[in-house]
């Protein structure tokens, strides 16, 4: 067993192994954080679409259809956008867990942090009109 360290040095020399450069890990971490930011912004835009959708609803129709307000809202929710929003936030969560600090917090706190940041991004995108601008561009 005492020879393992010697064998390792020999293997490193024979195969001419070298440590991966620091820049590789810096780029890797940067990509992860960029992806997190992307998914959070994407989630923000999707939630804004939901807000626009709900804001554009003619709420007086609920009385015409004799539906409860909750039922009316549920029936008219843009479920596709909500599902996509859930997927985006899940990706952001998974990526955050992969970062160096991702494991230091309990799962519930991590979920709350990601949700809070996503909601903050949503509010920011909604009130600055950025999301409307992006949606117009997509249209």
């Amino acid at each position: 067993m005492a020879q393992v360290s010697q064998k390792i040095i020999e293997e490193i020399s024979d195969k001419q192994l070298k440590p991966k450069p620091r820049s590789y890990f810096l780029v890797y971490n940067a990509v992860i954080w960029l992806l997190i930011a992307f998914f959070i912004i994407f989630d923000g835009i999707l939630l804004c679409v939901n807000i626009y959708g709900l804001a554009a609803l003619d709420w007086s129709l609920s009385q015409s259809f004799n539906e409860r307000l909750a039922t009316f809202t549920t029936n008219n929710l843009p479920l596709l956008w909500l599902s996509l929003s859930f997927v985006a936030i899940s990706f952001a969560y998974i990526l955050f867990r992969l970062t160096d600090m991702g494991y230091k917090y309990r799962r519930r706190w991590t979920v709350l942090i990601v949700l809070f940041v996503a909601l903050f991004a949503t509010v920011l995108l909604y009130f600055t009109g950025t999301s409307r601008m992006i949606l117009n561009l997509i249209d």
Binding site: M1, V4, I8, I9, I12, P19, K20, Y24, Y103
Partner: protein
Amino acid sequence: MITKIESSKLTDEELVTLTLADKNNYFYLANRYEEKLSRYIKRLANFSSQDVEDILQDIFIKAYLNLNSFNPKLKFSSWLYRITHNETINHFKKARTRPITLSTEDNELILQFIASDSNIEKEMWSQDDAASIQRTLTKLNKNYRDVIILKYFEDKDYKEISDILRKPMGTVATLLNRAKKSLREEIEKETTETKRKIKWPKFPKKSLKR
């Protein structure tokens, strides 16, 4: 390359810096950890000495290749133990089994572990009982076993266990408490079963043949 005496005065982190400058210095780092890590691998899984040596080589090569990813905020030992833990798990995933066996040299550590738990009466236990606890440990949930091995056999603190297993410190503390509770229950169960199995003296069967 530095000398052996010089290397003994250096910290792990300093040796990492020197290794990045000259690969031959990696010998001292590997030499410092090979015994500890081989014991840890044996505690985690029942591999043969040859397998342990192969796993160790893989670990040290992987650690060398990723040396630049070492975060100085962490302890080098925690970083290396994390690689060891993951590599060992990968190996026994390939083997599809994970029976653990603790060596007889671990008996003393087991007794220390029991002594550290105020809820278990120390005087009740002898060296012989350690063997029974060894058996009980093998029945524990994987997560519980991992924290017990790291805390009591590898002598790691909560922060280090958290960094090795990549779990929050609070979770580590909870797991450790549950592990102790589970171990106590298993021991009690085993004791009750042993009491039940009373060995009756064997009477010679009457021969039908005359």
